[in-house]
Symmetry: none
Subunit: 262 residues, 2 copies
Amino acid sequence: MFDRIRFVLVAPSHPGNIGAAARAIKTMGFRRLVVVNPRVGRYRDHPDAMALATGAADVLAASDSCATLVDALGGVTTAYAMTGYDREFGPPMVDVRRAALDAAAGFGLANEGQIAFVFGTERDGLLNEDVERCQFSCAIPASADFSSMNLAHAVQVTAYECQLAVRGLASVQSGQVRFADTDAPAGVVALESFFAHFEQAMIAIGYLDSREPKHLMARLRRLFNRARLTQTELDVLRGISAAIIESRRERAGRKKSRLIIP
Amino acid sequence: MFDRIRFVLVAPSHPGNIGAAARAIKTMGFRRLVVVNPRVGRYRDHPDAMALATGAADVLAASDSCATLVDALGGVTTAYAMTGYDREFGPPMVDVRRAALDAAAGFGLANEGQIAFVFGTERDGLLNEDVERCQFSCAIPASADFSSMNLAHAVQVTAYECQLAVRGLASVQSGQVRFADTDAPAGVVALESFFAHFEQAMIAIGYLDSREPKHLMARLRRLFNRARLTQTELDVLRGISAAIIESRRERAGRKKSRLIIP
């Protein structure tokens, strides 16, 4: 099913963005990149494209290039025009999560062909005439004050949603431990002070060898972070740490006394 | 609530990625970027950072920089270590969608403080010791074959999920096509008048036999209902229906004339 979704870049200006888009889709398991009428025709071996593709040089090299959007949509039954706003005569608007779920669900239908997500230029997005060639307009929800996403970032978010939908991971996993309203949670800075304090205590009693600490503190961090300590609990644990260190001092003191007095 | 989530970059190598991260979080409505021990100390006015921040120069300029991760986490009660894999002694792993929903839900609790999403270096990600300072490990689901996301792309996906969660948009919208605010939707009664009118037109031109109508009108209803007609579109279609009927009358009139006159 990953091969049935393609990502189409219409008239990108910067080869670097094509390379970054290749990497973005590959991280999400996709491989089909189509470039329509790029400003730099020989983009595949452009140094910016290759630098930003990194481990996705194969996807970049195998990308198709076409002269027109219609050429890029062969075999496609549903094309989503990525656009931040609803055009007057554009197709109906869906958000990218809905689009990804519908695309994945469509693969269960006998007559659904391939799916395309179509992205416009870095500067202006898609022309109206290209939006109108698509069956849906598709938006990535963004800030009302500043919605100008980088082209490759938009490809990344879209590929991410498609991957979750295709893999059936779109529903949310089970929850995690949270604080009850009555608890004052310990902050991370306070936790760090406690861990340092407790480590001193462990060194003081000889349980931890600072020259060979192994994984003791990592294990304790894991335990206490999993427990999501409250401030009250942290106070208790710091009291224990202080008591451990103090007891060690006293014992050292007594030993010394014994050594001297008898 | 947008100000209670911060994005922390630990030891980024490339100022361009810091600028791109600033743009990424701003597109999703966030403003708090913290940079820990960057390789280029004066990153805020570095040309790559400024070029990639584009409209988010304000977020870049207002970013904090700190010497250590703990310094970056003042006021934070829950820090998520962004990492692609579960570390042996790391905190429990959640995916980024779950983390975002929990972060947003946490803001409803009296004692939850601020939330941090912590990202490692471009090349190696976070060190174990930094992962262990966080309360959760947090993964962006990615391809098993190639999971190496660009740093700013990972920030973008994380900020995208946080935005949806904070705005309460995380649940999937309905798949229904909705009308834009500027469209006057055609009401059901007007639709019925149109269907009756169009049926007359189909009968007039002999395409529909009223004694054996089959499923023609049902098919057309299905088509037009799926399209969710606006009133303007309906007016156009009624005009077409009238024109079809009128053209038929004229032709019948001409035939009749011929029959009479010769």
